[in-house]
């Protein structure tokens, strides 16, 4: 028990003193997951609107598939990115395995279903009357979608934040395609895993606290948005 307490106080010390290693790793996590979340949003918000606004055969099935992929295991995404981008794989000529780029792509694949699905349900949450009114007033298809997107902006933003949360907290894919290279692809979760296996709990705990703190901020923002 004293050991845990010692590690905990040491961890707080590392955070308060803005330990360069801790800050560097936390910063890298934020950058990589921020990038993947931003890029995934660029794809998913328009695509989600597109799926929402059109009625086609198999729409229900498609949405079911998307929702199933919410729980896609991170190691499966890791495996997929690994075999695709290994130099022996079909996209190997890019040479990006064991780089932050591969991690961004992995996280994008991981959170795309989540962002798509939540965007669609966010848009579906807008009342039917709003859509009908807009249409009856002569709004074009695009204008209607834009209006609905604006109406649902808080729910959509919540979806994006959820996606970010999933990206920054996953370890399987980051470890497999990033390789946990110090100063290059080492992020919060891979460091925690490595340091714990080494028996050095201070750094692991400091980063764990930071990750929880980030989650707390995300939750506060999320709550605020939902109350509006």
């Amino acid at each position: 028990m004293t050991e845990i307490w010692h590690a905990f106080t040491k961890a707080i010390e590392l955070i308060i003193s803005l330990d360069p290693e801790v800050m560097e790793i936390a910063g890298r996590s934020l950058r990589i997951s921020g990038t993947s979340c931003f890029l995934a949003s660029l794809i998913c918000l328009p695509l989600g609107s597109l799926i929402y606004s059109h009625h086609f055969r198999g729409k229900r099935v498609l949405i079911n598939i998307i929702q199933t992929l919410f729980s896609m295991p991170t190691v499966l995404v890791g495996l997929l990115v690994f075999v695709l981008f290994s130099r022996a794989g079909p996209l190997g000529f890019f040479g990006i395995l064991l780089t932050p780029t591969a991690m961004v792509i992995g996280q994008m694949i991981l959170i795309t279903p989540l962002l798509l699905g939540l965007t669609i349900s966010a848009l579906s949450g807008v009342s039917k009357e709003t859509v009908d009114t807009a249409t009856s007033l002569g709004a074009s298809g695009f204008q209607t979608v834009w209006l609905v997107l604006r109406e649902a902006r808080y729910a959509v933003l919540a979806a994006v934040i959820m996606g970010f949360g999933r990206a920054i907290s996953e370890v399987g894919c980051a470890m497999m395609v990033g390789g946990n290279i110090r100063g290059f692809t080492r992020v919060i979760t891979t460091t925690i895993s490595m340091e714990t296996s080494k028996g050095d709990f201070e750094l692991a705990m400091a980063l764990g606290i930071i990750l929880l703190f980030l989650a707390l901020i995300i939750n506060i923002v999320l709550n605020r948005l939902q109350q509006r």
């Binding site: 794809i43 059109h54 086609f56 198999g58 890019f94 395995l97 932050p100 390789g179 296996s197 028996g199």
Partner: protein, 313 residues
């Protein structure tokens, strides 16, 4: 806009967007977050976890980077995984310790010869230490005392474990690492069929446990289970402070552990990989390797290259 049209439109959109983004990400290095930009060159190294977990690479990395103005990117993997990354050229050079797997790698024409002391060789040995058998202090299988060979000790663990798997357990890496390769070799030399007798019956009887993880993790598991395990001496010394396990057997020719580097034919920086081999065998670096860990642990973790033990060139 009904029917098949939206599907086509969305598919085209996704493919276009993905292609565009990947191109952008790949071509603009600034978009790749993180990374320390020391010079333009990078050298990718896959190393065994037993070397990395001791902290030796963290120690040598800075010296190498400064000397050659290069960004050395190190990923710690088991020997099997490291060699797999080397085969595909995802890394430029590997630092491993499993003679059998190394020989297969070289025979498969995945290696590039390095020049060391004027000789050309595929496998450059640069340090060694010994594997040790560790276990609980109570030593329920009775292998300590210094009278047994590693093979006899393994036989004893197998027999006692089969009789009473609650008291006697053995934890294996089970990950095709160099340590796992050594363990398999000892089981074989002790007269067992590894797959049938040990992995098969041992697992069924409950005394043989495979973690599938690195050396540090495996030591932690052995510690939690109060079990025996085979470990390289370097990692054990580095972890000893957190463990209740003790060294029970550390002599016997089959426990020798030689580390080598091999340049990967499909890698992208063979020149810098050659520099790494030269670097590791340079006298001043050899002296650093010999002294590594001594102030902290009281023993050296690695012994410098010795032609009598590691072989020439």
């Amino acid at each position: 806009m009904k029917g098949i049209l939206p599907k086509i439109a969305s598919t085209v959109l996704v493919v276009l967007a993905l292609t565009l983004l990947i191109t952008v990400l790949v071509t603009i290095p600034g978009c790749a977050p993180g990374g320390n930009e020391t010079g333009n060159q990078t050298l990718k190294l896959a190393t065994t976890t037993s070397l990395y977990d001791t902290g030796l690479w963290d120690y040598l990395e800075t010296i190498f980077e400064e000397r050659y103005n290069v960004d050395l990117q190190i990923t710690a993997q088991g020997t099997g995984n490291a060699l797999a990354l080397g085969k595909t050229g995802d890394v430029d050079v590997v630092a491993v310790h499993d003679p059998a797997q190394e020989a297969a790698f070289i025979a498969g024409n995945y290696s590039l010869n390095a020049t060391i002391n004027g000789n050309s060789t595929a496998r450059v040995t640069w340090a060694y230490n010994y594997f040790i058998i560790v276990g609980p202090e109570s030593d329920p299988a009775g292998i300590g005392g210094g009278n047994l060979t590693p093979e006899q000790a393994f036989q004893q663990i197998q027999q006692e474990g089969a009789l009473n798997s609650t008291a006697v357990k053995f934890v294996s890496r089970g990950d095709n690492s160099g340590t796992h390769g050594k363990e398999k070799a000892i089981w074989k030399a002790a007269g067992y069929n590894y797959t049938a007798d040990i992995e098969g019956n041992g697992t069924a009887d409950g005394w043989y446990l495979e973690t599938g993880k690195g050396m540090g993790d495996t030591l932690t598991v052995a510690n939690e289970k109060m079990a025996y395990t085979l470990t390289d001496k370097g990692t054990f010394l580095a972890y000893q402070g957190d463990l209740d396990l003790v060294t029970l057997l550390d002599t016997g020719g089959s426990l020798l552990n030689v580390y080598s580097v091999i340049i990967c034919k499909n890698g992208h920086n063979p020149g810098m990989a050659q520099n790494l081999t030269t670097f590791l065998r340079a006298p001043e670096i050899q002296a650093l390797i010999a002294g590594f860990g001594v102030p902290e642990y009281g023993h050296p973790l690695f012994y410098p290259w010795d032609p009598e033990i590691c072989g020439l060139p």
